[in-house]
Symmetry: C2
């Protein structure tokens, strides 16, 4: 079954805004066996919207229209759908009453214009909108001899996704053959994408009934496994079978079999081991602390950290010997080790991490080029230090270094 998603709104044809609702809709549609074959973004012009709807009806079974349902002159999706389908548009008395009631709750006088939100397409089911004033509409009709499912839902993400889940998904499920979906997400850190694919491809390509998607992002590889069957047990069995085989080849690169983030995994390990963490960051400038503290509940295991940008701060906050910095330079294995050990001893944490490097775009030399980063992890037993040469712009180097540091902590706790 093929779907087309049409996002309506001139703002999405500027350099400033992008449709993102369609990613959510695509995920949900895929889960019930629907492929998204086209996405179209069209501005607030009735003729353009109507044309896009006709094109979609000619090439897809399901047409999802998002946006253009508000009360302003620019909200023209209803009128365009009526024109494209050659059906009537009638003001619905119950919807008019609902709009008046809503205005009364807000103690505002409703502008006459608002009433256009009560215009309903002939034969459409009204989809209630608990998060806004514009109702959605659902049409199950025939176009050029073929059955078509068409729905109009609002553009704001909270209204769009909530209405799609509550109103459209049950109707789509009822209209489509029964299918069950099993899904698993495996995650691996710091393995090159080509190597991950070399290890994984010979396995997942033999599972022709499981759809495997590999996504790579600065040190993080995500494998999403999706299987659709007429039995949930069978779908789950196949996904688990593939996941188990992939887990074996990905060995210790694998950090999550259920989709948790790397920082969540680190915190899970810390909690399990009753261990605490403190970090001393130079070139990552707070990025490690920021990623860890993005997880709710991180305060149980994460004591805190020092962002030691200047040499004085390295000495002051992490107790790095001033002479050591002079001797080896701020970007050196020795200073990374001293940062990790210093912050651990100073804070009394179980594990201490030190990062120093050259994020660029300036500051690189022949012996210490941009992208050179030292990452040290220290506990009561030992201090290890890794030297890495990351490529790319300042932000990417910082992201790589952060992921590498988190992965080193994980491996120490494993």
């Amino acid at each position: 079954m093929k779907a087309e998603i049409i996002a309506v709104g001139s703002e999405m044809l500027t350099p400033f805004r992008q449709d993102s609702n369609s990613l959510y809709l695509t995920e949900k549609l895929n889960e019930i066996g629907v492929t998204v074959a086209f996405k179209t973004i069209v501005g607030d012009r009735k003729k353009d919207i109507a044309g896009a709807i006709k094109t979609a009806l000619g090439r897809a079974d399901i047409v999802a229209l998002m946006g253009g349902l508000g009360p302003t002159e620019d909200d023209l999706t209803r009128e365009a759908a009526a024109a494209a389908l050659a059906i009537g548009l009638r003001r619905d008395a119950s919807q008019v009453a609902a709009l008046h009631a809503r205005a009364a709750t807000w103690r505002i006088t409703m502008p006459e214009n608002n009433l256009k939100q009560a215009d309903i397409l002939d034969g459409a089911a009204i989809l209630p909108n608990p998060n806004g004033s514009a109702p959605g509409q659902w049409i199950d009709t025939t176009y050029s001899g073929y059955r078509k499912l068409i729905f109009l839902i609002p553009g704001p993400p909270n209204e769009c996704c909530a209405m799609f889940d509550a109103e459209c998904m049950p109707r789509l499920r009822a209209a489509l053959p029964v299918r069950y979906i099993a899904k698993r997400t495996l995650k691996a850190a710091m393995i090159p994408e080509s190597q991950a694919d070399k290890l994984a491809a010979p396995i997942y390509t033999t599972f022709t009934d499981v759809e495997t998607t590999i996504l790579a992002k600065t040190g993080d590889i995500q494998l999403t496994l999706l299987c659709t069957k007429t039995s949930l047990e069978e779908a789950q069995r196949r996904v688990d079978e593939l996941a188990n085989k992939l887990e074996e080849v990905l060995e210790e690169w694998l950090y999550s079999s259920e989709g948790e983030s790397l920082e969540q995994t680190v915190l899970d390990y810390l909690g399990f081991r009753n261990a605490t963490l403190a970090v001393a960051e130079s070139c990552t400038g707070g990025m490690i602390a920021q990623r860890i503290t993005a997880v709710s509940g991180s305060s149980r295991s994460f004591l805190g950290g020092a962002v030691v940008y200047s040499n004085e701060m390295k000495t002051l906050l992490a107790g790095v010997d001033h002479e050591l910095i002079e001797r080896h330079g701020a970007v050196s294995q020795e200073v990374a080790r001293a940062l990790a050990e210093g912050i651990r001893q100073r804070t009394g944490s179980t594990i201490g991490v030190g990062v120093t490097g050259i994020a660029g775009p300036t500051g690189g030399t022949e012996t210490k080029p941009i992208g050179l980063v030292y990452i040290a992890v220290s506990d009561a037993q030992k201090t290890d230090c890794l030297e890495r040469n990351f490529r790319g712009a300042r932000d990417r180097i910082r992201e790589w270094a952060t992921t590498q540091a988190l992965d080193l902590i994980r491996r120490r706790l494993m």
Copy 2:
């Protein structure tokens, strides 16, 4: 002049990837007076791509095709364009030679399949690709009696944008009427979007020849002014005229008249005043440090910071009196002030910042709800503290608090 951008690639019809090249192309096209009227995303099926091209030729003057130019079986944009335009596709000898030369440089044997990248549409100009193996193609033709400009460029962002700039823009400029563009970006912090619009709308709506776009993001308001004229001076004059009037009403909320980021503005002020900064962050967990250190050269004014997640760290790294925390609680005006003063004194910075709050989703109480944040800024003269109640999820609260802290530093330096 109307354009349609077609992004080709099945990966952009999954929940995982999104076309983003089109934002860049849109910005550039707008600057030469071209409106993007439609965007279409289509998968790697020849029939679908050809259909999308035909639809685009029926509703746009300029058709930009991105992606599907590589060497694999899934790269079908060339074949689809030939079918849609009913023209031939011929292997170009000079391109075959170039592909062989490229393979020789890389010391690899070129697979036979690679040669399809040398297939050129009849009448097309070849667009060189310094960043990859697939050349682009430019077609200036007539379709159903109308002139159409069509170009095929690669999908990877670095290849796509570079080729568009170097090859397509000059050709488009030559084909379109001469126009000059002036552009300015104003930025304001911590002003509610509705208030910004209330102040700005009465002004910018009278400048009908300047296109004003307002974009709001967690405490940051961006106003982009764009004016296209047949004379550059006239366009610049109108943009500056509007910018000056907007600057007046936005008063001290305005932090940039030329598009700099808030953190860049803070660093500019610090440099100008020969001042240094250090931060002690609790709920923002390193986000302030991370945003500041994202700017290259920040080390000149930013000494560093302490991420003081636990009470012990607040005492240890920022010298906050243990009893003060016991008496008022970690989330209190008193502790925020002590953090700011403590980190300033300890590091010897000109300005010290302290942030403490409840980012949620847990930890809120009736008197100290989720979203309550205290932000203090301290220098040798005084320490100010602001109490704010931010709404939203954990990440948004942290982002709001970070922007608020940066804005307070800016206001202190103004």
